[in-house]
């Protein structure tokens, strides 16, 4: 290391002299090799510069740039209207001002014209942009109609407007979960907006057919008036009974059309942020619940339809059932032998289990599948939850499922199954789009004998006349239904007094046209009430809903004999 490089040239010269030939060799290749390296670097840097220049020449596909600018403007969407043509969602048009500087002959004239209408454009940067040689430049987004008109009237060359669209929901929160939301680019994110995109709109937009066209509105099966009434009543009940959440579904019984669907708390689709809050989720299609006693109607329908159980059969409900270390008992048990109608009306857990057992577990499984309670429901709205099945469908699971525990389903699924029980036994997948009766008949699957459905109508009506559904009676509309008070699981155990209350009803029961399912999550006792069970909250809520919607829906009231169910054959409506 200690070689004296700088100070000993003489010595080095001597060294060179000594090994004269080697010194020349040393100098020779060393230098030529460096020149070799320089040549290589010249080529490499040259290649890099060349590549850069080639890329620079690629620039200037003006059409592509122009299209890119166009597609960044929010696309148009079709209006969404309810079954009567009321607007639920619409686009508000606003204009965006742009310039094509290359086409401007006199920049000063255009600039002065623009700032006479839009003084805020009087900036050096705007002037510079107009003077540039660019093909396209945005000047201002979202200008008002008056400003647009004023600039248009000036007749400035090289200046133009692009339509841009903003989604607006005039009803605010009313139809929120059905409609869903769109993002800032007007693309559907949830609800029917997303369905419309997926079904056909996306393809159309990609082809560029949605710029300035008026599209045929999308008609839904929903009735805005009914939707409003249901939501309004639910909101009141939720407040009055201090419930955590409330859900309501109105289905047209013989077509499967959803007339109204509400899940509270809901959100305002005009305010996208709200839609993301977990508490505002759509519980009707996106939540699964153990629905409780409203399942008993399904169990009884299954048993009767199997032919193994007759209406008059007696079932011993004197003693609680003990199974797998657990005791299943009745709420206010009668402690005697009950007939099938009594099992239904008194909502006997013991009786329902025995009815199920007489028909058999296989029969139960097959029937639940037929009414669509064990598989994911298919409908237009995205984000439908899958039912929560028991890990093993053994004796115990079958027993609890018979009275609505141990199997979680979405409320909409439950409503569809409920409609099947009373509409003559036709299973129809729910739809948010209009469906004619002919189409419904084609789609319908007969899963129950019409006679069984007839019996279920009678049982439901009896329950309103004499059972737990008494508060649902609405004079003239022949309401029938079944209550459900499901204990909720808190910290892994069924908790006393924490209920999911529901009432599944249909009207008029003699020939049901509409099915109404009302669910209240954890309603509390109010003054003068002894219990917080379904009969005290979900049932009266249903009554006020039906009282409001039945006249709107054009159901003809019949005051002739409000006390008895009149068989459909004697009815003479239309």
């Amino acid at each position: 290391m200690a070689r004296k490089a700088d100070s000993s040239f003489l010595r080095r010269s001597n060294v060179n002299q000594k090994h004269g030939t080697s010194a020349i060799r040393l100098r020779g290749p060393g230098r030529s090799r460096i020149f070799f390296a320089m040549t290589i670097f010249v080529f490499v840097y040259g290649a890099i510069a060349g590549r850069l220049i080639l890329l620079g020449l690629q620039d200037g596909d003006p059409a592509e740039r122009f299209l890119a600018a166009q597609s960044s403007v929010a696309q148009a969407r079709p209006d969404i209207v309810d079954r009567n043509g009321e607007i639920l969602a619409t686009d508000i048009k606003s204009a965006a001002l742009y310039a094509e500087p290359r086409k401007i002959p006199d920049t000063d004239e255009v600039f002065d014209g623009l700032i006479s209408v839009l003084p805020e454009l009087d900036t050096p940067s705007i002037k510079k942009r107009l003077e540039s040689n660019a093909l396209f430049t945005w000047l201002k987004r979202e200008i008002s109609v008056e400003q647009r008109q004023a600039i248009h009237a000036l007749g400035l060359p090289g200046v133009g407007f692009r339509e841009s669209n903003k989604r607006f929901y005039p009803g605010g929160q009313t139809v929120s979960h059905i409609l869903g939301t769109v993002n800032v680019d007007n693309q559907g994110l949830s609800g029917m907006e997303k369905y419309v995109d997926q079904a056909w709109l996306k393809d159309l937009q990609d082809l560029g057919f949605t710029q300035d066209r008026t599209m045929e509105p999308v008609k839904l099966s929903v009735d805005l008036r009914v939707q409003h009434a249901v939501r309004d009543e639910l909101r009141r009940s939720m407040e009055y009974y201090k419930a955590k959440a409330a859900m309501g579904v109105v289905l047209k019984a013989d077509t499967g059309e959803v007339i109204a669907m509400t899940s509270l708390p809901d959100f305002d689709p005009n305010n996208r942020q709200q839609a993301l809050e977990k508490a505002r989720m759509n519980r009707v299609t996106g939540g699964v619940f153990e629905m409780g006693s409203i399942f008993k109607g399904i169990t009884i329908a299954m048993a009767l339809d199997s032919g193994k159980v007759k209406l008059e059969d007696g079932f011993d409900a004197t003693k609680p059932i003990r199974v797998a270390g657990q005791k299943i008992d009745d709420f206010h048990g009668k402690r005697r032998v009950l007939s099938v109608p009594e099992v239904f009306i008194y909502s006997s857990n013991i009786g329902t289990i025995k009815v199920m057992q007489k028909a058999g577990i296989e029969e139960q499984k097959a029937f639940l599948k037929k009414v669509g309670l064990t598989q994911k429901m298919t409908t237009e709205i995205p984000g439908v939850a899958r039912p929560l099945l028991p890990p093993k469908w053994n004796d115990l699971a079958a027993m609890t499922i018979s009275f609505g525990h141990g199997l979680g389903v979405t409320p909409l699924q439950m409503a569809v199954a409920g409609a099947t029980l009373v509409n003559g036994g036709k299973y129809l997948e729910p739809t948010f789009l209009p469906r004619s009766e002919e189409d419904a008949d084609k789609l319908a699957q007969q899963v129950l004998k019409p006679e069984t459905s007839e019996i279920l109508r009678y049982l439901n009506r009896e329950n309103v006349l004499r059972g737990s559904g008494r508060r649902a009676a609405v004079p003239g509309y022949d309401v029938g239904g079944k209550t459900g008070t499901a204990q909720k699981v808190v910290n892994g155990r069924y908790a006393e007094g924490v209920y999911l209350n529901s009432f599944m009803s249909a009207f008029p029961m003699s020939n049901p046209e509409y099915l109404v399912l009302i669910v209240l999550d954890e309603p509390q006792k109010v003054e003068g009430q002894r219990y917080s069970t379904a009969g005290w909250n979900a049932v009266p809520t249903t009554a006020s809903v039906i009282r409001r919607i039945a006249p709107m829906l054009g159901v003809v009231p019949d005051f002739a004999d409000d006390a008895e169910t009149i068989p459909v054959s004697y009815q003479n409506r239309n």
Binding site: A5, R12, S13, I34, F41, Y45, A49, L52, L55
Partner: protein, 385 residues
């Protein structure tokens, strides 16, 4: 202006330094800061830092970096060797340290924290290793009894082993090429170059066969449809979007998508905002520094100075060309910083050290002429009595 008769150390330095190269290097340093304005804010925002965090850091370290470079450039070759040896020993220890105490970033241990500053020893060990190997080779050539080549390969082997252990294949590859370049510049016989070249090809083939990610990268380069070329595609989009004159500072969009926009892909990001003309100018400055450095090396009669400065310049040139070629999709993707431009304190300091060495070794020194007896040296003025 300093008089030519001034014999102070500063005057000596000022009159002997290669000012063209110095201007080139300073141009690159300032450009690095300017390009960082475009490329680093999105990365800083992604990391939850203040927008101009990396810009400020770069600016802050530019001063000590320049000081290191200028300070080193004033050293004599003998001191260069001493500094190189000391730095080499320290960095070898730190490099060993990274394997045990290094912080794990993206699956590699390359960083070690020293007095609260995290440094990347592999960046620093590269230039000093080049200086040491240049010395060993030149000594070995002069006195046949010194096994310079053997010791060089040994030292290289130790460093390479540690780099592979980190793992850092990019630096290992760079160092291997530089080692080969040093042997080549030292006048390695063409008869030896051919088999070595074949070995290199075999090595690449082995990597291709046995290292799936190497194969993936090469295949994606040869056939873009065979895999995900997202980063490269975006980089090319960036060049095209920028056009000749760029979109303007702050108008870039691709930088928000490219993960390493402030280091490996700074060139592409800069292109979008400043335009291709600026990029071509940048390439020209790099080419100028490299060619000027190599030319200056040829003027050096001292084999050590010539070998060391040309080796360092080759490393600098390789790093810049590899980075730019990757950005332009001219070669398979390989993480490599753009010297003096990319953000990164260790990289900046190490390159400053490298260029300091080069400037020092290419300073005008008295050179023996063709006739070795006649030497031209700067005569000291007659001291007034």
């Amino acid at each position: 202006m300093v008089s030519r008769t001034d014999r102070s150390a500063f005057a000596e330095w000022l009159w002997t330094i290669d000012r063209y190269m110095l201007i080139g290097i300073f141009t690159l340093m300032v450009s690095g800061l300017v390009l960082s304005l475009a490329a680093s804010p999105p990365v800083a925002e992604r990391l939850g830092l203040e927008s101009f965090y990396f810009v400020k850091k770069q600016a802050l370290f530019l001063i000590p970096s320049a000081a290191v470079m200028l300070g080193v450039s004033a050293l004599s070759p003998r001191y260069i060797r001493r500094v190189a040896l000391v730095v080499f020993c320290v960095m070898l220890v730190l490099l060993l340290g990274t394997l045990f105490f290094g912080s794990d970033i993206k699956g590699a241990r390359r960083w070690v924290s020293l007095f609260g500053i995290s440094i990347q020893p592999s960046e620093f060990i590269k230039p000093v290793l080049v200086v040491i190997i240049a010395f060993l080779l030149s000594e070995g050539r002069k006195a046949q009894d010194i096994p310079g080549q053997l010791i060089s390969i040994l030292l290289f082997g130790i460093v390479a082993a540690m780099l592979v252990a980190q793992p850092d294949f990019g630096q290992t590859m760079l160092l291997t090429i530089v080692l080969f370049a040093l042997f080549f510049l030292n006048g390695l016989s063409w008869l030896a170059i051919v088999p070595l070249g074949l070995m290199g090809i075999l090595g690449v083939a082995a990597g291709f066969t046995y290292l799936p990610h190497v194969r993936g990268r090469i295949m994606r380069f040869l056939d873009p449809s065979s895999g995900d070329t997202y980063q490269i595609d975006k980089a090319i989009d960036s060049f095209i979007a920028g056009g000749w004159l760029g979109r303007g500072v702050g108008e870039g969009t691709v930088k928000r998508i490219l993960p390493d926009s402030h280091t490996d892909f700074i060139f592409a990001v800069a292109a979008e905002e400043y335009g291709i003309i600026v990029c071509v100018v940048l390439v020209t400055v790099f080419a100028f520094v490299v060619l000027r450095g190599l030319y200056m090396a040829t003027q050096d009669q001292d084999p050590f100075g010539r070998l060391a400065s040309s080796g360092l310049i080759v490393m600098f040139g390789l790093q810049s060309t590899i980075n730019m070629a990757v950005n332009l999709n001219l070669m398979p993707a390989k993480g490599m910083t753009l010297p003096l431009i990319s953000s990164g304190v260790s990289s900046l300091m190490a390159i400053s050290l490298t260029m300091g060495f080069v400037l020092a070794l290419t300073r005008k020194r008295p050179q023996p002429r063709k006739n070795p007896i006649i030497t031209v040296t700067r005569a000291a003025p007659v001291q007034p009595a």
